[in-house]
């Protein structure tokens, strides 16, 4: 469904992605994990048209996304739940949901979809006409997900959905992801929270300093001896007796 190959992105002379390749199949949940500064958000930006790559390709259902621009990428069926949620805080909850359907013109279906979202996220219904900035962090995350879903994406991208949320709220967010998955939405998830990501996804890529270090199914990765090494950049972070850096 989505194929990223040899993707390179630089900010000035600093390389953020150095030839990243990954694929997401229809109906799959794929996660990209990696520490801060690994290039996860840059990867999301490159897929959604936020940055122009220096090299490589991003192909969605046979069409290159590279010169499309954000609006047409949304129209093709990719929505992003960005890092830090970025809901429109001066707009009401209802207006945020309407804005999520900006690429659509089927008014009746939009209203029905909003109603369906409010069924999924009852907390939002209670606060429908309040400014979204007054919502709690967890409610804002639900709003950000609902807003992204209103574009009727076939591929949903989530950038650090658990960041800054209390553990109970993270549970809720991941229950929502599990449900979306059962509804057949394909998900590409970027996370620092390794165990959450592995638990929800079919396959996982480990991204570090702009390159994919490892990949595999969740079970494979958890058993792989190099996993911690790939993730943290040096082995035995907790043991401390094998501190040499492999890369």
């Amino acid at each position: 469904m989505l194929a990223v190959a040899g993707l390179q992105v630089s900010y000035g002379s600093i390389a953020a992605l150095r030839g990243v390749s990954l694929s997401v199949g229809s109906g799959e949940v794929v996660s990209v994990i990696g520490p801060n500064g690994a290039g996860k958000s840059t990867l999301m930006a490159a897929i959604t048209g936020g940055v122009t790559p220096r090299g490589g390709s991003v192909v969605f259902e046979g069409t290159s996304l590279l010169s499309l621009g954000p609006k047409r990428i949304v129209q093709r069926g990719i929505s992003l739940v960005p890092e830090g949620r970025r809901i429109f805080s001066s707009l009401t909850v209802h207006e945020n949901l309407k804005v999520g359907a900006s690429t659509r013109t089927d008014r009746a279906a939009i209203a029905a979809d909003i109603e369906r979202m409010l069924g999924h996220f009852p907390a939002l219904r209670e606060r429908l006409d309040r400014p979204a900035g007054r919502l709690s962090g967890g409610e804002q995350q639900q709003l950000a997900i609902a807003r992204a879903l209103l574009a009727r994406p076939r591929l949903l991208l989530l950038d650090e959905p658990s960041l800054g949320l209390a553990p109970l709220v993270v549970d809720l967010v991941y229950r929502i992801l599990a449900r979306l998955r059962s509804e057949g939405i394909t998900i590409l998830l970027v996370e620092q929270n390794v165990h959450r990501a592995l638990a929800v996804s079919d396959r996982t890529y480990v991204l570090r300093t702009g390159s994919i270090e490892m990949q595999g199914t969740s079970a494979e990765l958890l058993q792989a001896p190099r996993f911690e090494e790939a993730y943290f950049g040096f082995a035995g972070m907790k043991r401390g007796d094998r501190g040499a850096s492999p890369t």
Binding site: P82, L91, N96, T103
Partner: protein, 294 residues
């Protein structure tokens, strides 16, 4: 009591013009993060359009002036600001200065530096008197038009699908793009609306002062900028409120200042505004700034 009421009437009519001015400037700033100094030239050029169209029927003059100024605002967006959409704030600011001076000099080239009289609908300047209050027809028109336009712009931004998208873009332009709002459509609508507001100010303001020079638009634009800052940069409600406050201050100063100091009214006005901004630098209404992140 009569003096007070008279003051309120004058304040509302002057403040209304500043509010419309500030709204036009604030709309572009809120959405594009562009402080458009060339907004004043839209006013000036509207005035010259009225000079050129002096012999046409008044309705035709008004409509053609409106259309011409809106068109000019759109051309400005297309030629000067669209290529700079990714540019930094200082670059945009300097570009708007360049557009402003360019237009002033083009006007100087075409019309010369002498004052031209504008005699649009002279009957509007006649005063109406009732129970000791004096108000001209033009002031009445200004008050009514201001109220209608403020309500219309508010309804547009609050109630229509496109208005909600514009507010979303004003808060976080990049995120607005990520939900699929077209950047160009938003920019074009913002400039068209701003141009429309400028053209209305132009018709009312130039009719009121009755003369036009290539620099005429500078002063109202300056008041408009101060009003947007006073109201809280980025807030449209703030811009309108700021405009009214400046209008009220101007009228109050006109009444309380001794005769020999009235010439320097604007100096007092700006001193007060300066003091207000020292106490409340964020303006009346605080807007959380959109995050800029790569």
């Amino acid at each position: 009591m009569t003096i007070l009421l008279q003051g309120v009437l004058d304040a509302v009519s002057i403040g209304g013009l500043f509010a419309l001015m500030a709204l036009g400037i604030g709309l572009i700033f809120g959405i594009m993060r562009l402080i458009n100094f060339a907004h004043g030239e839209l006013i000036t050029i509207g005035g010259y359009a009225m000079v050129v169209l002096a012999d046409a029927p008044p309705l035709a003059t008004a409509i053609l002036t409106l259309l011409f100024v809106i068109l000019l605002a759109l051309v400005m967006e297309r030629l000067a600001f669209r290529p700079l959409r990714q540019a930094s704030l200082p670059t945009l600011l300097i570009a708007s200065f360049a557009v402003s001076y360019l237009l002033q000099n083009v006007l100087l080239l075409i019309f010369g530096g002498n004052t031209k009289g504008v005699n649009f609908l002279p009957s509007l300047s006649q005063p109406i008197e009732f129970s000791g209050l004096r108000i001209t027809y033009l002031q009445t028109v200004i008050i009514v038009v201001t109220i209608v336009l403020l309500v219309a712009v508010t309804l547009f931004l609050k109630r229509t699908r496109f208005g909600i998208q514009m507010r979303a873009a004003a808060e976080d332009f990049r995120m607005a793009q990520l939900v699929g709002i077209g950047a160009t459509a938003v920019a074009v609508t913002a400039f068209a609306t701003s141009g429309f507001l400028a053209s209305v100010v132009s018709l009312l303001y130039i009719t009121q002062i009755g003369v036009i020079l290539p620099q005429t638009g500078l002063q109202p634009a300056l008041f408009g900028f101060v009003a947007t800052v006073l109201g809280g940069l980025g807030s449209l409600l703030g811009a309108a409120v700021g405009g009214f406050v400046i209008g009220c201050l101007a009228v109050v100063l006109q009444i309380v200042l001794p005769l020999e100091l009235r010439l320097f009214r604007d100096a007092f006005l700006f001193a007060i505004l300066f003091a207000v901004l020292l106490i409340r630098p964020q303006g009346f209404i605080v807007v959380r700034w959109a995050r800029e992140r790569v």
